[in-house]
Assembly symmetry: C2
Homo-oligomer: 108 residues x 2
């Protein structure tokens, strides 16, 4: 596996729903991409045993963490500590979000 990635250029989209891709899976940390066409979303959910972040790498989306929803654009970060509900309420344009989660989704 390569050590170096260009997340924006790797993103693939699905006209039916938000697309998910793996970037890297370590023993302790998972990195991936969520790629959304305008209007697509990721429902509110919670990881009780894992910390997570969203980093918008291109585009613009409304992102929810806890009780707060904000519009995030390229370069902005949302921190979702373990147990805090979070989701992508709506992509306002074609949007690529890098996600990181520790431990990763298959490490349980």
């Amino acid at each position: 596996m390569s050590h170096f990635f260009d997340p924006t250029s790797l993103a693939t989209f699905d006209a039916a729903k938000m697309a998910k891709q793996d970037l890297a899976r370590g023993e302790h940390l998972f990195l991936g991409l969520n790629s959304l066409e305008p209007g697509q979303s990721q429902g509110i959910h919670t990881h009780d045993g894992a910390d997570k972040f969203y980093l918008v790498v291109s585009g613009k989306a409304r992102i929810t963490v806890g009780a707060v929803t904000e519009v995030l654009s390229s370069g902005q970060l949302a921190w979702c500590a373990a147990g805090v509900p979070h989701g992508i309420a709506e992509a306002l344009e074609r949007t690529v979000v890098m996600v990181g989660m520790a431990p990763g989704p298959t490490a349980k």
Copy 2:
């Protein structure tokens, strides 16, 4: 603690050496910023029990992972699995790098 961050606008620099800042510390995951003036660096080092990444959020730097050094610019990512030596060989301009590490540096 806020859930939302704009890493580039939060960065602070130190004329003497690379500056380090915390963004978020969870039970499982740490996020921070490394901010470098042109010519500054972070020496090669290894975290035996933690996975880490560098994401360049602004600027341009030569980043080393394992035996490979590449020039990364804004939006590009370096993955440093546990046990793999890594460092920032040289900032080629004023550069802000988001770092993530799981588990975090104080969680041992």
